[in-house]
Symmetry: D2
């Protein structure tokens, strides 16, 4: 009954410098795509991450894990689905599924699944609690059973 969905989907197109000489996307770049997905999810929860930083809330990656199923290639359109997996007072974990959507010539394909845990820091780099409104929004996203966009 609202127009938000808490399984955010972002679509992007693979850039030339994201490839390496193996002819596929270099594995570290998927972490940057997860960042894009997370940014959009946070934006849709109510406040752009850029504003959070201006208010002194920094979310630093504390933990990351990725499984690579199939490679993305130059000029592919890929999509990044992001959802909230776990919320605590100072940390939040996100899950990601990066895939190549199907087309007339090809079936959809799972490329990378990932999870990152972020910890809230203040300007001085010390840990702090997530702001109450962000905490509530993240918890809300968690219970919403990830309705697809």
């Amino acid at each position: 009954m609202n127009d938000f969905s808490f399984r955010t989907t972002v679509e992007l197109r693979v850039r030339y410098p994201e490839t390496d000489q193996m002819g596929v996307v270099y594995h570290a770049n998927y972490l940057a795509w997860c960042d894009i997905g997370r940014t959009e999810l946070i934006r849709r929860l109510g406040k752009p991450y850029a504003e959070l930083e201006k208010e002194g809330v920094f979310l630093a990656v504390a933990d990351a894990s990725l499984r690579y199923h199939a490679p993305a290639r130059y000029d592919d359109r890929v999509q990044v689905e992001t959802w909230v997996e776990e919320v605590r007072s100072r940390t939040v974990s996100f899950g990601y599924l990066i895939s190549r959507p199907g087309s007339e010539e090809s079936r959809p394909e799972r490329l990378v699944s990932a999870r990152t845990t972020l910890i809230a820091l203040d300007r001085a780099g010390g840990t702090r609690k997530l702001p109450p409104d962000l905490l509530a929004a993240l918890r809300g996203a968690l219970t919403t059973e990830g309705a697809a966009t």
Copy 2:
């Protein structure tokens, strides 16, 4: 009785573009540093990775996990220790410890610990067995109990 050590240590200096607006190294860049450590370990086991590719052996990352303990900063000297954790006929897992060595003014500090699993691919992108000499060298590195460089 040989001058190789199978816990390879590489030192590098943090580059400006590796930082982000949080004033620290962007988290995805540590994966590229693990790659540098792994490249040096493989070189020291007998054959540069660049030559492996020329012979049709590609090592693709299948799995990666990282824990971020403390941030590296611009112009820091950091070191990447790399060792072999597990060897199978088609895959090999490496462990990494990225740290800031101590100096007169500071104690050594653990920055990131990581593990990646790589799978051997042929030119067409299909899985293949690790070449016998590489397999033997990796297994040797595994049993050598990681004598420090």
Copy 3:
């Protein structure tokens, strides 16, 4: 009377890893954005660059120059305008204007102007002529006086 315009405009949003510790986009990244603009222009001229490569035509940057007027920042929406500046049998030069479009709160702002010259290479890395259809399309784009998108 056609729906192509030969001053292609691409819009993108600044990614976190594109920033550096100065709090702005690292200067080398604008070259990658020019690449995105050029890719779109070539696609609109009739054939994706990815297909050109499959046919053995590689366009390598031979020359680049950039003037930085104002910095882009994290999460900014920026646009890349691209046009053809000069065409020869083996080389083509593109011009770029990267800017921040105006909004209710801000005026449009010129960020970076740039020019790159690309040279056609074959699979072996030797220079070659541009394929006739691409050459004709690029020349057409040149004479079309850059009607804005």
Copy 4:
């Protein structure tokens, strides 16, 4: 009569993620290598650039031009020579020559020549004068006729 040389040479090894699917180093990465060369030149003139920033002096790239002569490849050792080309009260221009040193099997090869102009900014992003000691050191480097390292 001193042990400084004002044509600084830095050696680095090409990293896997610096390559693209053309099998060579992506053209934007050479700008990052110029940055490394410039950082070392500034360090040798007396003060690390990291400390300049702590004192409120930021050097932002205002202008860059590059000519690409031949490509660097994965795992190549390349060297970056850097020198001062022009000094004004608020700006300084550096020249760069990136090359592959010769070996027993190969002759030295020029890869990229470049020039960047940097402008001094204060913390707020406004232009400012170069600090007197840095200005004097840069001017000294200029007149020293670039004795090779």
